[in-house]
């Protein structure tokens, strides 16, 4: 209870500070103020809430580490892993889970320190909140430019929100980079980027067959490329044509039915598409292949690509439809007024004007196809064949990442770290795609706006 009490206090103090601060400026002599009374209220609230919350958060981050150091200082001479193990068992014992061989003195120390920390935090946070309030209180005068200050605080909050996403991305990339660097110490980058064989086995015995794994990523990326191309060959034309129909030809009532139905496609879990591909589409394609005299393996790039194409139709159609609908009616009238037919108007006016958005929709669909895992696992298989034949089984980057990390492996084996190298490469590939897409969109926007 005492853990969350400071937060409750901060909220209550904040509400109180708002009314108190507002009342204080309201009592001042009548004159034009650099802010509404509400701005002075928010000024008081911000000083009461923000520093106290920061202290609370910082405390939560730091106190665990300090307590751990104090507790473990009674047990010198342990290695890092041993110390972690010991501390976890002490924590478990403190939480009431019986563990053998736990030094009871340390458990008691831990409980005592935790109590102390909670109480001290409560006192400190409350004090900071009160201090913040009085700091604001004595500064609230008619001269205080409360409006500017509150606006600035809002600006800072918005800025922080916008950089959180960026910082997260940076963090993800850094963690990938570190692991990839370790991987490249074991496997040469040359082999990874140009090797034509992918067989990430780790020998259990010295004399095992295929004892040394092969980490040439070309077949894996080729598989991703093949499946993505097949998927886009399906989704591109179908999605674009359905968007044109919906935006330009469909009666509003037809549109009101078809558009949501299409968007439902995007809501079907991909694993369900996977079933369909693996259990219905792939076998019937194999049978069809037998009838036609073709060899189609029961797990094929074609089956996975077709189903994935169906899955990403809504990404293409829905976005393109929105963009085309937003092309102003006046442009269409201008075209019709010159004697153009509906299809001429679409081809020469609507589509060019909508190009940036349509490219955006395609790029979204492509990155969706590249990132898709489940359908490929189920329909395309795991065999890393280097082939351009859509009737054969292939595998993709995401599938390999998933299979490499499934199961019990040490996190420092080549096999596991290969997943990070694949992930990082995939990250840069999609990044490059997005950059290209943005450039295309910008180029056309400059020309067409």
């Amino acid at each position: 209870m005492l853990t969350y009490l400071p937060l409750l206090i901060i909220v209550l103090f904040g509400v109180g500070a708002f009314y108190a601060s507002r009342a204080r400026i309201g009592a001042a002599p009548e004159q034009p103020l650099p802010g509404l009374p509400g701005h002075y209220g928010w000024y008081g609230t911000l000083w009461t809430v923000v520093p106290a919350t920061l202290v609370y958060a910082a405390w939560a981050v730091i106190d665990g580490q300090i307590i751990r150091n104090i507790v473990l200082s009674d047990h010198p001479g342990l290695s890092g892993a041993e110390a972690t193990l010991l501390f976890v068992s002490i924590e478990n014992a403190a939480a009431g889970v019986m563990t053998e061989d736990v030094p009871m003195a340390s458990v008691e120390l831990l409980l005592k320190l935790e109590n102390l920390s909670t109480t001290a935090r409560f006192a400190v946070v409350t004090a900071v909140s009160v201090l913040g309030f009085f700091w604001a209180w004595q500064r609230i005068r008619p001269e205080l430019t409360a409006r500017d200050r509150v606006e600035t605080a809002l600006l800072v909050a918005l800025f922080i929100a916008s950089i959180i996403a960026i910082l997260t991305t940076v963090g993800i990339v850094l963690s990938l980079v570190v692991e990839t660097f370790r991987f490249f110490q074991l496997v040469s980058p040359f082999e990874f980027f140009f090797g034509l064989e992918w067989s990430p086995q780790i020998a259990l015995r010295e004399d095992q067959v295929a004892a040394s794994g092969a980490f040439g990523a070309v077949p894996v990326f080729a598989g991703t490329l093949l499946i993505t191309v097949i998927a886009m060959l399906v989704a591109g034309p179908i999605g674009l044509m359905s968007a044109i129909y919906l935006a330009e030809y469909a009666h509003p009532r037809v549109r009101a039915v078809i558009k949501p139905l299409l968007e439902i496609l995007a809501g079907i879990p991909t694993v369900v598409y996977g079933f369909f591909a693996a259990l219905v589409l792939a076998p019937s394609m194999r049978n069809l292949g037998v009838d036609l005299g073709l060899t189609i393996s029961s797990e094929s790039a074609l089956a996975a690509g077709l189903i994935m194409g169906i899955m990403i139709i809504p990404f293409v159609s829905s976005l393109s439809d929105d963009i085309m609908t937003s092309v102003p009616m006046s442009l269409r009238e201008g075209s019709y007024g010159l004697g153009a037919t509906a299809s001429e108007t679409i081809k020469r006016v609507v589509l060019p004007a909508a190009t940036p958005g349509i490219v955006g929709g395609f790029m979204l669909a492509i990155s969706r196809a590249i990132g898709e895992t489940m359908i490929v696992v189920m329909a395309a298989g795991l065999a890393a064949n280097l082939t351009a034949n859509p009737f054969e089984a292939v595998t993709t980057v995401t599938v390999q990442i998933a299979t490499l990390l499934v199961g019990d492996h040490e996190f420092d084996s080549e096999k596991t770290m290969a997943a990070f190298a694949l992930g990082l490469t995939l990250f840069f590939v999609t990044l490059a795609l997005n950059v290209v897409a943005l450039r295309v969109v910008q180029k056309y926007s400059e020309r067409y706006d």
């Binding site: 442009l331 201008g334 019709y336 010159l338 004697g339 153009a340 067409y448 706006d449």
Partner: protein
């Protein structure tokens, strides 16, 4: 009827008889009879919502684009029916060009804007023909000197008045007989408006022009005939000078003296 303008052809270019337009259940235009004479500017005036734009858009069948819109009565262009269901709308619209209220150049270059219609209708077989047609149209719309060095730049980068003249050039590039103008100056500043009005006066020598306007001074300045509409009915249609000096109907008098509208 006294005909003040010099006209070699006494036959009307456009004829409307008992023309009515409905939006669903609501009737917007009631039984309009109208003769538009060639090589003249005819102005449609009237208060907002009186049906003047709707009436204008009948002549090139733009109302067809509105699903719930229905037209009855007859319309003739040079004696040929243009109201029936079998009329080739593409052909009709190449003979009756339109300029819209808000300048609506396509998001293409100045050149491609003007070349749009000729390309659709195959009017210029070779590139040099097309170049010539584009230049002639831009000259006729009085904008050539301003854009001749930047015909490859986007039409949307021009000023509002230039955009509207570009739209006029685009309309006359398909060599129409009639130009419909739906409040062509309402989005423009006074200087650009004056330029367009001069242009309309010049274009009168080659085209039959119908202009919808909110601005009565504009109607008086540019038109030879004026039609006053109110509540979907054609109240009075006569020489512009007569409408503005000695109208026959009391409501015309009230409107032009600013008593309503």
């Amino acid at each position: 009827m006294v005909i003040t303008s010099v006209s070699s052809n006494p036959q009307p270019t456009l004829v409307a008889r008992e023309l009515s337009v409905f939006y669903g259940e609501k009737q917007a235009v009631f039984d309009v009879d109208l003769d538009i004479m060639p090589r003249e500017v005819t102005a449609f005036i009237g208060p907002s919502g009186c049906g003047k734009s709707t009436l204008l858009r009948c002549f090139n069948r733009m109302n067809d684009l509105i699903e719930i819109c229905r037209t009855t009565g007859s319309m003739l262009l040079d004696g040929h029916d243009i109201a029936g269901p079998d009329v080739d709308v593409v052909q009709l619209r190449s003979r009756i060009g339109m300029v819209f209220q808000k300048p609506n150049p396509f998001p293409k270059s100045v050149y491609d804007n003007v070349a749009y219609g000729p390309r659709l209708h195959g009017l210029a077989p070779s590139r040099s023909d097309l170049d010539e047609l584009v230049e002639t149209s831009l000259r006729r719309a009085g904008i050539w000197d301003e854009v001749k060095d930047r015909v490859d730049q986007p039409g949307t980068s021009l000023s509002g008045g230039q955009q509207q003249r570009l739209c006029i050039a685009r309309a006359i590039a398909v060599r129409p007989d009639v130009l419909l103008m739906d409040e062509p100056c309402s989005a423009l500043d006074p200087i650009a408006t004056a330029t367009i009005e001069e242009l309309i006066d010049e274009l009168r020598s080659e085209y039959t022009i119908i202009i919808v306007t909110h601005n009565m001074q504009q109607a008086a300045r540019v038109s030879q005939k004026t039609a006053f509409l109110n509540l979907g009915r054609l109240i009075e249609f006569d020489e512009t000078t007569k409408i503005f000096t000695n109208p026959s109907e009391q409501s015309t008098q009230d409107y032009i003296t600013g008593r309503f509208g």
